[in-house]
Structures are given as structure tokens and as C-alpha cells.
């Protein structure tokens, strides 16, 4: 019994690290320019299809798919910023929501139209046999995804807090006019934020594709996971997203195990509403 429980918790932590990775992109953009990217989940979906194409067309595994997806998604992120987000930021809030929501529909149904509604999966044994540690069995793709997810999230955090680029981005998020007077170009920093955020979804998506089915609407579910993680962790906080992502991964796993797989989403959504109600600033957010 306790062995199964331990197995569930370890699996939850591994998937939680990937949640943390793509949610940190959402929280970065939100914290920096107060815009929610409703297409964030669909960015992850595109990355999953990228991994799928890299595998079917070139026979490349995650080692090839992760960088390719990161570059493609970062480009899409920068394009979205310059063509759409930069303009709608100035409009009323409804236009902001509509703008990224429209982008979400555009991406989701382009994928639906092009790839069809059927689930696509990468071969299970792509990365070899599962690891067995004591009584716990860990699938290789999940172990890889969890480890890389954790490392990249930490790297993103270090980049934002310990580098000159990170300081410039922080300056823009705190006071764009003042930053501009210091010789920082706000638009360039915001574009960098979109590149980083979308690039993070690229890495996360390519990793998720190795153990999860890919479908055009998978982004919808993942977007809600990202919203929950960001709300839980605190808007704009990457460490918050990391802690919240790990927690949500474990909670999801435990509720699937204890209550039933169907209800894992119910528990997570309830948790979300509860967090928004009781502590809207999240675990580590600024009030």
C-alpha cells in the first residue's frame, strides 16, 4: 500500500516539474506586463506536435525534439508579441482577453484541421526500459521530463534573478518609463519575455509528448493546469510556480489514486477556485 502511495507521489513530482516549467512561462508574462496568454496551453500543444513530427519525419528522439521545439515556439512567441500582444495591451481588457483567446482558437483548430482529431502517441519504448528503484518503477520518459523540467525552471529563475538581462526585464516590469530613461527598450525586453515563456512551453511540450497523448485540444486542459499553478504559486513568481507545480502534480496523482482518475481534474479545479477565493495573491505572490 505505502509502496503504491510512494510511487504515486514520485510520479506526481515528476509530472509536476513539467507543469512548473510551462507555468513559469505564463507567470513570467503575467508578472511582467499584466497580460494573460490564453493561448499558453496551445503553445504546449504545438510543441507536442513538433516533437511528434521530429520523430515521424526524421526519427529524432527528445534530444532533437526539445531544442527544435524550443526554437520554433520561441519564434512563435516573439511573433505573437510583435503582431498581436503589443497592440492589444493598449486596448480595453475585453480586447486583451479576446486577442489571446482568438490566438488559442486559431492554433487549436489549425492543428485540428491539419492533424485531425485523433490522438497521436510516440512509441513507449523510445527511451528504453523503466528504472526500478526498490519497489518503485519509473518510466524513462517521465524521469527525463521531470529532471529536465526541474533544471530548466531553475535555470529560468537564475536567469531572471541573477543576470543583467533579468534585471533589465525586472526594471521594465516595475516601471517601463523609468527603465526607458535608463536606456532599456521596454518592447525588446517584453519580446524577450515572450521568447522565454514560449520557449519554456516548447521544451515542456516536447517532453510531455514522450509519455502523453497528443491531440489538438490537449492545450485546453494544460492551460487550466497552468492557470491553477500560476494562481497557486503567485502571479509573476517562478519559484512559486515551481512549488505549486510540484504540489499540483502530487495532488492530481493522489486524487486520481484515492478518488478515481475521472475526478483528478475536478479536485484541481476546485483547488483553483478555492485558492482564488482564500488567497488570490497565491503562495509566493506579492499582495
Amino acid at each position: 500500500m505505502s509502496a503504491i502511495l510512494l510511487q504515486v507521489i514520485v510520479s506526481g513530482l515528476l509530472i509536476g516539474a513539467v507543469y512548473a516549467l510551462f507555468s513559469s512561462g505564463l507567470t513570467l508574462i503575467w508578472g511582467m506586463m499584466n497580460v494573460i496568454n490564453f493561448a499558453h496551453g496551445d503553445f504546449v500543444m504545438l510543441a507536442m506536435y513538433t516533437a511528434f513530427i521530429v520523430w515521424t519525419a526524421f526519427g529524432g528522439g527528445p534530444a532533437a525534439a526539445v531544442p527544435v521545439a524550443a526554437i520554433i515556439l520561441a519564434t512563435i512567441g516573439v511573433l505573437s508579441y510583435f503582431l498581436l500582444v503589443r497592440h492589444i495591451m493598449r486596448g480595453p481588457m475585453l480586447a486583451q482577453i479576446l486577442g489571446t483567446f482568438g490566438l488559442a482558437l486559431l492554433l487549436r483548430y489549425s492543428a485540428f484541421w491539419y492533424f485531425g482529431a485523433n490522438f497521436k502517441t510516440l512509441p513507449d519504448d523510445m527511451l528504453g526500459a523503466p528504472f526500478v528503484v526498490g519497489s518503485i518503477r519509473i518510466d524513462a520518459p517521465r524521469l527525463l521530463a521531470g529532471t529536465v523540467g526541474l533544471l530548466v525552471t531553475l535555470m529560468l529563475h537564475l536567469l531572471l534573478t541573477r543576470s543583467a538581462l533579468g534585471s533589465r526585464m525586472l526594471a521594465v516590469s516595475e516601471d517601463a518609463t523609468a527603465a526607458q530613461l535608463m536606456g532599456i527598450r521596454p518592447e525588446r525586453m517584453q519580446a524577450v519575455a515572450w521568447a522565454l515563456a514560449a520557449g519554456a512551453t516548447g521544451i515542456a511540450g516536447a517532453l510531455i509528448a514522450t509519455f502523453f497523448y497528443t491531440s489538438p485540444t490537449v492545450g485546453e486542459t494544460l492551460a487550466i493546469v497552468a492557470f491553477v499553478t500560476v494562481a497557486f504559486g503567485g502571479f509573476g513568481s517562478v519559484p512559486g510556480a515551481l512549488v505549486a507545480g510540484l504540489l499540483i502534480g502530487v495532488i492530481e496523482g493522489l486524487s486520481a489514486f484515492l478518488i478515481g482518475p475521472v475526478y483528478k481534474d475536478v479536485v484541481v479545479y476546485l483547488l483553483f477556485v478555492l485558492v482564488l477565493w482564500i488567497r488570490p495573491q497565491g503562495l509566493m505572490g506579492k499582495a
Binding site: 493598449r90 480595453p92 482568438g102 491553477v228
Partner: protein, 327 residues
Amino acid sequence: MRPRFLYGAIGALILIYPLLTIGAPVYQRLGALVLLAAVGASAWNLIGGYAGQVSVGHAVFFGAGAYAALAVYSNFGLPPLAGVPLGALIAVLIAALIGMPTLRLSGHYFSMATIAVAELVRVLITNWDWVGGAQGMSGPAVSRTPLDLTFTSALPYYYIFLAVLAALLWLTWRIEGSRMGFYLRAIKDSERAARSLGVAAGRYKLYAYMLSAGLTALAGSLYALMFGFIDPDSGFGILISVKMLIMAALGGSGLLLGPLVGAMILVPLEEISNSLLGGRGAGLTFVVYGAIIVVIARFLPNGILAVLLHSGKPPSKPAAAEQPHAA
């Protein structure tokens, strides 16, 4: 353009539309669908447009109305009409339950909370066998009594929907000019300023949300009456919520006839692209939808009707001054 002239033209078009489409059932059905969509979007407009609280979860209320109508039929054999007040009541209660915690949140937080609640309800409904689970429910196939409101022609539905829409717009117009209307617009412009002037913002937002929910449930019931079938996706799917929002935004949110204008453009567009593109069209229709939404948000952030009504006057640019760093 003078509002009175524009509104008169829209009203006249709707009244003579049945005459124009005599002997063309496809267009009669299209007309009914436009009015039905306008009912839903106008109901959304009360909270999303006038009060500026962008709900992306109105499918909860739409689904409550649609499911109540067919649940009383499939479980008790009652005419679906009997479920209409029940659906509206349930929707108002759910709105009170959701609204009290979530309306305290501002801006994006409220939108995200409504999405999460809608998805939560959709998952629960999918696993609830009493209302048909994932398969959904059907209404009466043939009319047993006139109370079943089951017609083969779309024309009776056109008149029913028109009557409901007229009543809804009349109500909205009365609210627009009332104390509540002024309060809601004040909250939309700046909730903090409205509160500081003594507006009980929380209470009025909740009233608008509950009213909007009850009327959205009505739209859901009308949908169930006309289509005679409902399942979790057609009742509670996220696209149901999104369509209401898009129609209102395209036409002009916070304007009396904005949602109707939006429905008059988007519903025919959806039907045309569905029929032109055939089986694979479902995906492409929403690609077109997404593209239109992006273009509206980018170039017409206040909607078509706002542009028509303000042509001649210099365009106002709300919120432009608040974000100097975006320039």
C-alpha cells in the same frame, strides 16, 4: 450615424425577415439561429459588457437551462417547457454561489475563475448518469401536445426567439437607464472610484451576474427546445461561453444592440463555412473564428457598432493613457 436610424434599420430587417425567406427553410432556420445566439450574447452583455466583468464560463448557465428542459422530459416525461423556469432558477443559484467568491476578483482573475468553474461543471455533468452522462439527452421526437413546442419548421422558433429577445432587450434598455445601469458602468470604468463614491459594487455586480445567468439559462432552454438534443459539449463546452463573448465583442459590448449585430455577422459566417467546407469544416470554421477574433481585438477593440455610432465623432481611446510603456 444616428443611433435611432441604425436601430430602426436593424429592427425593420428582423421584422420583415420572415417575409423575405418564405419558401426557404434553410434561411428561416438561419434567422432563428441568429436570434437564439443574440439572446445568449445579450444575456452575457449584462455582466460582461455593461459591468465589464468578462465571464468566460457562461456555458454553465446555458447548460443548466438546456439540461433542465430535457431532464424533466427524459426523467419525468414532462414537456421540456416545464424545465425552463427550473433551469433559470438553478442558474441564478449557481451564479450566486460562484459569484460571491469570484466577483471579488478583478479583471483577468475573474475570467480565469469562470473558465475553471465551467470546466469543473462540464466534467461533473459528463459523469452524472441522471442527465445522460457523456451521451447527453434527447427531447420529444414528435410533438405530443402543443406544449412540447416541437415544430418541423423553424419559423415558429423564429417568432419565439424574437419575442424572448425583444423582452430581454427591453429589460436591458430599462436597466441601462436605471440607477443600476449607471452603477454598473461606473464599476466598469473604475471599480475603486465607484466604491469610493458609495456604490455597493459587490452587490450590484452580483445582481447583474445573477440576472445574466438566469437569462443565459433561458437561451440554453430555447436551444434545447429547438434542437431537441443536448450533450456535455453542446451544453457546457468552452466554445459556448466563448461564442457569447465574441458576438458581444464583435458587435459592441456594453451596447444594447451590440450582441445582436455580432450574432447577425458571426452566425451566418459559421453556417456558410460549415456548409462550404463540409465534414472537415468544423476545424476550419473555428480557425476562421479565431482569426476574426484576433482581428477584432487588434483593430476594433470596441466593436463594430461603436465604430458605426461614433463615425463623425473622434474615436475615444480608453485605457490608452494608463499604459505609457506600451507605446
